[in-house]
Amino acid sequence: MNHLPRASELGLIHCHVCGMVCCHVSPGEATCPRCGVVLRERKLASYARSWALLVAGFLFYIPANVLPIMRTASLGNVDDNTILSGVIELWVRGSPGLAIIVFTASILVPMTKFFVLAALLVSARHNSDWARPQRAKLYRLVEIMGYWSMLDVFIVALLATLVHFGIFSLVAPLPGVIFFGLTVVMTMLASTSFDPRMIWDDERQR
């Protein structure tokens, strides 16, 4: 694109906490002379970490969907719902809006994260120069979405603590929600482990 030099090319490194620019010394782990934070050119093992956490998140996502996440009991009518069955039930029972929200938060968002992160990782690995600004935007989207992934877990946690009316109404969390929570945590960690600068690496070589 252009021939502007990169910081690494100039032997410089920048502290991402206090913003100090120092000499790049390799090998070894350098710490900022001003604030003492570890200085790294790129996030440590970003690629491997992202992949590993993403895979772990995906593995947890399977039981999160298969196992029921919440038990609702009203007047002796016990209902164990998985994420998908809950969505279907909401839709059938005439709350399509709620169904869409839950579907978005619990299925669409995690799946998007998986695909987006995987795609980002793969493309970063291959130093693809395909649609780099869009990929960067995608990454930011994933970061923002990450906050909302815990919606389900919060709903279950809130309901389980609030709805305790004996035989009339009872909500209890089931193991599925733990796995769902783990999935969310893993994907968030994966997305934070991903160093978006990798998108732009080797741009010059083109």
Binding site: C22, A30, T31, L59
Partner: protein, 556 residues
């Protein structure tokens, strides 16, 4: 990297502190590995948890939900309905059930499955919880260890589940009455069991019921136990008023069976499992001495028997020994009248020990000891059948077998089936006859002639009276007038101032004087008796006269 030196970067850049530390980046892969391990564990766990898959066919899948309806045994969930589909015959519903691993022993041949729904039955209301939670499939496991995959669901919950301690018995009854599966069985008004099943006998002549009596109360069922249908209300009207009796509220609605040892208090052994009993219609019938072998008798009545109905009792000296089973009209060509043929069934055993004695006596005498022969001998001694009025209000008749003295000799033939017992007209009929005789003799009295005679007599009397009026009465008047005057003169005579009265008073005073002088004479004579002879002395001597004569003479 180093081929282009930037110009604007100062040389004196601060140098970072360098530490040497090894970082193993592969450690991060432990996280997905852990996730994988958890996943595998879950998978294995699920695999280990799921037991055999069985199919149960039901009439209807009402209330069953795929993936939700549980299968329970003693309220513990042992499986879950997986799939519900229609059977190939389109009459049944095939329910696929995944049993838990721990419940794999339920996939055996004698396990029974049924759907628990809210039900109001003879044994109360059950399955209330399913009103809210929805139906579930209940299971009852047997003892078999032979595995099985296909089951046929029961239409109704089984009355007795496996493992219940007790014994079942077989009851025969004429009809089912209001009994149902689950109807309670009572012993002294305590529920000790229930009816488990019933079916019509193969020949259609009755109903066979199975009951189950729970332990330890099953020991009260002995070989001398009598069962009766305790359904509904037992209303009896007696001298003490109206009595209502029922085993329980349930029996009024749903019926029930009660049992009790037969009267007599004999030693008896507990009945075997599946022992057979007869289910009597009510307690009084059940407590009667056993009927034994029935015999049929035929009675030929000459008079009409209005009020005699089929089922009317047959009494032998007041003991009910049978009942009327048919009443038919016959025609006798010789006498040209319509005799009534009454057939009745009698149970000699109901005669109790008298029957035993009769039989023994007959054996001792070397005679035939069967009922017809005994009856025949009794007929020879004057036994007759008679239709009697059992109830004056309703006019219901019953057949009485009684020894009557003023009947001629008649004989029965013991070899004719059914045995014919000679009859006499009923007691009430006799009264009727006598009444009729009285009426006819009353009718023979010639009331008309008597009336005519009486009329004539009255006319004569009238004439006589007229005669009396015309001639007798004037004479009577005259006579009375005469009598009146007579009486008047008489009263004049008798009046105080009448001369007669005056004379009478004077006469009486004279008489008094005379009497006084007589007494003086007497006194004189008693002192001077010689005066009678010598006469009165000069002065003191009084004249002497005989005692009575001078007094009489002087009085005159």
């Amino acid at each position: 990297m180093t081929d282009k030196q930037p110009r604007s970067i100062p040389e004196a850049l601060p140098r970072p502190l360098v530490r040497h530390r090894r970082v193993d980046t592969w450690l991060i892969w432990l996280v997905p590995m852990m996730a994988a391990v958890v996943g595998v564990i879950l998978l294995v766990h699920a695999r280990l948890q799921s037991g055999p898959v069985i199919t149960i066919s039901f009439q209807s899948a009402e209330g069953l939900v795929e993936g939700k309806t549980p299968v329970k045994y003693k309220s513990v969930t042992i499986g879950k309905v997986d799939k519900i589909r229609l059977g190939t015959d389109r009459e049944h519903v095939i329910v696929a059930v995944t049993l838990d691993k721990s419940a794999s022993s339920f996939a055996t041949t004698d396990t029974r499955f049924w759907i628990v729904r809210p039900r109001i039955g003879p044994s109360g209301i059950s399955g209330i919880t399913t009103l809210l939670s929805g139906a579930y499939i209940a299971a009852d496991v047997g003892k078999s260890s032979k595995t099985r995959k296909r089951f046929k669901g029961l239409a109704l919950p089984p009355a007795v589940t496996h493992g219940s301690r007790g014994r079942s018995f077989v009851l025969h009854a004429k009809d089912l009455g209001s009994l149902d599966v689950g109807a309670p069985v009572y012993y002294r008004h305590i529920k000790v069991g229930q009816v488990t099943s019933y079916q019509i006998d193969n020949d259609g002549s009755g109903v066979t019921l199975r009951i189950f009596v729970t332990s330890p109360n099953d020991r009260f069922v002995t070989d001398r136990t009598r069962f009766w249908n305790a359904s509904g209300l037992d209303v009896s009207v007696g001298a003490n008023g109206v009595k209502l009796k029922a085993q329980s509220l349930v029996t009024i609605v749903a019926g029930g069976v009660a049992f009790q040892g037969s009267p007599g208090g004999h030693k008896s052994a507990p009945a075997r499992e599946n022992a057979k009993f007869y289910l009597f219609a009510d307690k009084s019938t059940a407590m009667r001495p056993l009927s034994g072998v029935p015999y049929y008798i035929c009675l030929r009545f000459k008079q009409a028997l209005r009020g005699l109905s089929v089922g009317a009792p047959v009494d032998f000296l007041g003991v009910e020994i049978g009942k009327v089973i048919s009443i038919r009209l016959d025609y006798d060509g010789k006498t040209q009248n319509f005799p009534l043929l009454v057939n009745a069934v009698v149970y000699p055993r109901r005669l109790g020990q008298s029957n035993d004695k009769l039989v023994n006596l007959a054996r001792v005498h070397g005679e035939k000891a069967d009922f017809p022969h005994i009856m025949t001998r009794l007929v020879g001694r004057g036994l007759r059948a008679q239709a009697r009025t059992g109830n004056l209000l309703t006019g219901k008749l019953y057949i009485a077998l009684d020894f009557l003295s003023d009947v001629g000799k008649k004989y029965a033939d013991p070899n004719v089936q059914p045995l014919e017992i000679p009859t006499v007209s009923g007691s009430f009929n006799k009264v009727q006859q006598q009444l009729a005789e009285i009426v006819s003799s009353v009718r023979k009295i010639p009331f008309a002639r008597i009336g005519r005679h009486l009329d004539r007599v009255l006319v004569d009397v009238d004439v006589t009276l007229k005669h009396v009026d015309g001639s007798l009465l004037p004479q009577m008047q005259q006579t009375l007038k005469g009598a009146q005057s007579t009486l008047d003169s008489a009263s004049q005579i008798l009046a105080s101032d009448s001369p007669l009265q005056q004379n009478l008073v004077a006469t009486l005073s004279e008489l008094r004087r005379a009497a006084r002088s007589l007494s003086m004479l007497g006194n004189y004579l008693s002192v001077y008796p010689e005066a009678l002879i010598r006469g009165r002395r000069s002065d003191p001597v009084l004249p002497v006269v005989p005692k009575a004569k001078p007094s009489r003479g002087s009085a005159r």
